[in-house]
């Protein structure tokens, strides 16, 4: 079992970029270190659906050539990155860990992937996820479970469990996931890495295979807060190809990390729903104490959104998913199971292609949108969503940010919740509200529980409040290093 801070030595994004750009380390050697660790442990971890060793080696050699030629190699020169397998990669299979996309190769890169390549990052592989990002353990994958590098009998969290595990295991210096209800922050917490869910619209969704379009947001996994800031500066910023993209440039985050938290007002949510283990709440309290001693003011606030978020989410997200996943009909790409007529072909294809959790949510969402039920379910959930935004808006009149658990528990044993969807859904109690409100949130490793398993503390901020969020996260990281 490795401590996150030790793992980070020499492996951070910033270390790699500094070495590669200065010519003191080659991108090829950095890549080979990572590929070596993949060789050693990927067999037991199964973070990847696909490792792109050959392509990565070619790209690393190109970066080294660029550095040697004196060309600008980019702000992420030579950084090995792992991409959740729901981000389109040109010519490379992109599966969403589902059989339904069997054989499909996207003809384009997602905007985020394009920006990473342009910045000199090297894609080492496509990582495992809960099918179509529906889950909190990466157990709902058509290609098998991913294991937590800290304890391979336990889940890495989900749905971006593959990317979180890849970073935690040192398979990549950075990972990218998508967060619809906590799918970056919760696995980041369970794997002991930093994970960021940016403000909705801060990062382009173009090329991200949709689960719930109004909630999905891509974000980074990293060893350190500073790495996460550097990655955010590359992937954020307006994309005219995504109509929901905010027309603003990427925020400057690296420059604010040393600002400290003096004078910041940090909210403690007094009506936070229970259910978090004591070892988790203890660490959240320790985080408040650390911020207070660094000069922040801790303020009690009420945010009922945390109580109502889960139910609204489990109507809105499945409703959008039922529509987003309707295109997998066997007509144009992916799996097709032939049958006697078109409707039978649809049914056979979708029955064979989707796993149980995906089918459950498609049915739930279809029902919530159906004539006669819309007002009682989807319509009401939208109203609750508006109230949740109001709740946060009121809270942020009094505070600059909030702290909460990222996950109610540390990593749980594989199989423990696999047959109990509701227990699984509760994993996202503390993360879901900020997806519904569109606000940013991030999980920062903040110590371990009794069994030595990582615990993350979640920092929440208002829309486009990433600079404040990163200042708080950096302070927590400094406090951990000092302890």
């Amino acid at each position: 079992m490795s401590e996150p801070r030790e793992l980070a030595a020499g492996r951070t994004v910033l270390d790699i970029v500094e070495g590669v750009r200065a010519g003191t380390r080659s991108a090829v050697s950095v890549l080979e270190e990572h590929l070596g660790r993949i060789d050693e442990r990927e067999g037991e971890i199964h973070a990847f659906n696909l490792v792109l060793a050959d392509e990565a080696r070619i790209r690393a050699a190109e970066i080294d050539a660029a550095v040697a030629a004196g060309d600008e190699p980019g702000p992420l020169a030579g950084v090995p990155v792992a991409l959740k397998d729901n981000m389109c990669t040109k010519g490379v299979p992109t599966t969403c860990s589902s059989r339904i996309l069997e054989g499909w190769r996207p003809p384009y890169d997602a905007t985020v992937v394009q920006r990473l390549r342009d910045a000199g990052a090297i894609v080492v592989g496509k990582t495992n996820l809960d099918e179509f990002a529906m889950g909190s353990s990466t157990e709902n994958s058509a290609f098998g479970v991913t294991r937590n590098p800290h304890d391979v009998t336990r889940v890495p969290g989900g749905s971006s469990g593959g990317s979180a595990a890849a970073v935690a295991a040192g398979f990549a210096a950075a990972g990218f996931g998508s967060d619809t209800g906590g799918s970056i922050r919760q696995p980041a917490a369970l794997c002991g890495v930093v994970g960021v869910k940016p403000t909705y619209g801060a990062v382009s969704r173009l090329g991200l295979i949709a689960f719930a379009s109004s909630l999905d947001q891509i974000g980074p996994f990293a060893h350190t807060v500073a790495d996460a800031a550097a990655l955010m500066e590359v992937i954020c910023g307006h994309d005219p190809g995504d109509s929901t993209s905010i027309p603003q440039p990427a925020p400057e985050l690296q420059s604010v990390l040393d600002t400290g938290v003096e004078g910041l007002r940090i909210g403690r949510v007094t009506d936070l729903p229970g259910g978090a283990d004591e070892e988790v709440t203890t660490r959240v309290e320790a985080a408040f104490a650390a911020l207070e001693s660094a000069g922040a003011k801790i303020v009690d606030v009420e945010v009922p959104a945390f109580t109502y978020g889960l139910t609204a989410y489990y109507l809105i997200a499945p409703a959008e998913a039922s529509s987003n996943l309707a295109r997998y009909d066997g007509v144009r790409y992916g799996l097709r199971v032939d049958a006697t007529d078109t409707n039978a072909m649809y049914a056979a294809t979708r029955s064979a292609g989707f796993g149980d959790e995906v089918k459950r949510r498609i049915m739930l969402g279809t029902y919530a949108l159906s004539a006669g039920y819309y007002d009682a379910y989807y319509g009401k959930a939208l109203k609750v969503r508006r109230l949740i935004s109001d709740d946060f808006a009121r809270a942020y009149e009094h505070v600059d940010g909030l702290l909460a658990p990222s996950s109610p528990t540390v990593a749980f044993p594989i199989g423990e919740r696999a047959d109990n969807p509701f227990a699984m859904y509760l994993c996202d109690t503390y993360t879901i509200p900020s997806n519904l409100s569109g606000h940013p949130g991030m999980s920062v490793p903040f110590g371990t529980g009794e069994g030595g398993l990582p615990i993350g503390v979640q920092v929440l901020a208002p829309a486009l409040g990433e600079p404040v969020m990163f200042r708080v996260a950096a302070e927590l990281e400094r406090a951990m290093e000092a302890s």
Partner: protein
């Protein structure tokens, strides 16, 4: 007071009063129009008819995973042009997803405007002056085009295989929904014709029904005068103005017959068959899809600002109705006169007015253009000044209307010329008063019965007498002069 016998009459669809029909027909039209944009509604693929199948496609058109729609500004602007031309209010609006499975619908949902459309509450005036309310004119995307092979009737059911062309998928459409303000097939035909003229005038669409860039569905119901609206049927597959009229007539008769037989109209979608001239059940309300509309989360609210709206409004051309009014006024006729409607529809109204500006007679020019310029376009080959010269010869009595037609035919064939010279070459010269007098005397003598009738006050006999005069003079006589001479001889 109504007697049992009155009720029996009513039940048979007969009215107690002869001038009041037993049933009213109520028609509302839904017209889909492809906008004349360079690219599709949500992607950069060309919006072009007739290309090789599946060449104007891209990830958005095909609904590939990860693809996102981006709204086409030109499509919005063309829809606004149409909306303003239809006197609509332009509103902040949104797009919804209409969910259903069909192979030519790549995403399994259509992006359409549902309860928040761009254009609302307008109207369209028919040439007759009848005002038809426009409920809404909203943006949506077209589907791909399926071709079903094997089986019967080109339907998917029972076919052996299907081919899909996605070139049309994502082409921008505007759906124009009228209020149920039409009550005859003729009004419906006029509405479609007028709407088409407006669409072409504002440049929103080429509106070609034969190419499918304009598609009409008719909602038809019947009711007793004054009663509430009856159950309606939606008629699809109306591929020409003529079939719009025929289908409405057929459907009205069918529904009235159902009523008279004591039955009830069932709400359903019906298919017009040009072959047998009937409508047939396509689907009933019971098997209608539940489209599960919800707000399209991949797009944001569309809220055209005042400045944009006013810029579009200022750029609108003079619309057909105003052009007809101007032409009617200049020619001293009515805006719904056939000549005015036809000439304006051909966009030759400016030409007729130009004949007037060149010193010609506008009313005569209007008739000539209507009758002889069907093959000419918006800018006829014949210089307006040449037609003006011809109408002056007519006014001066130098040529008769019949002769003028022959001169005009030659002018058109030559693409211009001196009308006077052509008239002289053809030997057309005005008949002097004494020759006319002789001619009229001869006609009266040869057509004693008609003359007697005319003399007795029957003006209808005039036609036969004038016709005889024209025949006897081989078209040289001026019909108006003959008429005047005949009236002069009738004892008052």
């Amino acid at each position: 007071m109504s007697s049992a016998s009155d009720e029996a009459h009513a039940a048979r669809g007969e009215s107690a009063a002869d001038d009041e029909p037993a049933f009213e027909v109520v028609v509302g039209l839904e017209v889909h129009v492809e906008l004349a944009t360079a690219t599709k509604l949500f992607s950069a693929s060309p919006n072009r008819f007739g290309d090789e199948p599946n060449t104007n496609i891209d990830p958005v058109t095909l609904g590939l995973p990860g693809a996102l729609p981006v709204l086409n500004r030109q499509a919005v602007e063309l829809a606004m042009r149409l909306g303003l031309a239809l006197n609509c209010e332009i509103r902040p609006c949104a797009f919804h997803r209409k969910n259903y499975f069909y192979p030519d619908m790549p995403k399994a949902y259509q992006i359409s405007q549902y309860d928040e459309p761009l254009n609302v509450d307008g109207w369209l005036d028919l040439p007759s002056g009848h005002r038809v309310g426009i409920e809404r004119a909203h943006l949506e995307e077209d589907t791909g085009k399926s071709t079903h092979l094997g089986g019967t009737g080109g339907r998917i059911h029972g076919s052996e295989s299907s081919l899909i062309d996605f070139n049309r998928a994502g082409v921008p459409l505007v759906e124009i929904v009228s209020r149920p303000d039409l009550s005859t097939s003729e009004q419906a035909r006029q509405y479609v014709t007028e709407l088409r003229a407006i669409l072409v005038a504002v440049g929103a669409s080429d509106a070609k029904m034969e190419e499918g860039s304009m598609r009409v569905d008719a909602n038809v119901s019947v009711r007793r005068p004054g009663a509430e609206l009856g159950t309606r049927c939606e008629i699809k597959n109306l591929n020409s103005v003529r079939s719009v009229g025929r289908a409405i007539e057929y459907e009205a008769v069918r529904q009235i017959a159902l009523f008279e037989a004591g039955g009830a109209v069932r709400q359903e979608t019906r298919h017009w068959s040009e072959g047998d001239g009937k409508t047939h059940t396509l689907r009933t309300k019971e098997d209608a899809d539940d489209y599960r509309y919800f707000l399209e989360p991949d797009l944001v609210v569309l809220d055209p600002d005042e400045e944009w709206i006013e810029r579009v409004r200022a750029s609108l051309p003079v619309l057909p109705a105003a052009r007809r009014a101007a032409l009617a006024e200049a020619t001293d006729t009515t805006a719904d006169a056939e000549s005015v409607v036809v000439v304006t529809d051909r966009a030759q109204d400016a030409y007729v007015l130009a004949v007037g500006n060149a010193g010609g007679d506008v009313a005569r020019a209007l008739i000539h253009v209507k009758e002889a310029f069907a093959g000419e376009g918006e800018e006829p080959s014949l210089p307006a000044a040449d037609l003006a010269a011809l109408t002056r010869l007519e006014i001066d009595g130098a040529v008769t209307a019949t002769q003028a037609k022959q001169v005009l035919a030659e002018l058109l064939a030559n693409g211009g010329g001196d009308a006077g010279a052509i008239a002289r070459e053809k030997g057309f010269e005005a008949m002097d008063t004494s020759a006319l007098d002789t001619l009229v005397g001869q006609v009266i003598a040869d057509n004693a019965d008609s003359w007697a009738s005319f003399e007795g006050g029957n003006d209808k006999a005039m036609g036969a007498l004038v016709g005889a005069a024209m025949k006897a003079s081989r078209g040289k006589a001026d019909g108006k002069a003959v008429t005047a001479a005949l009236r002069a001889r009738r004892p008052s």
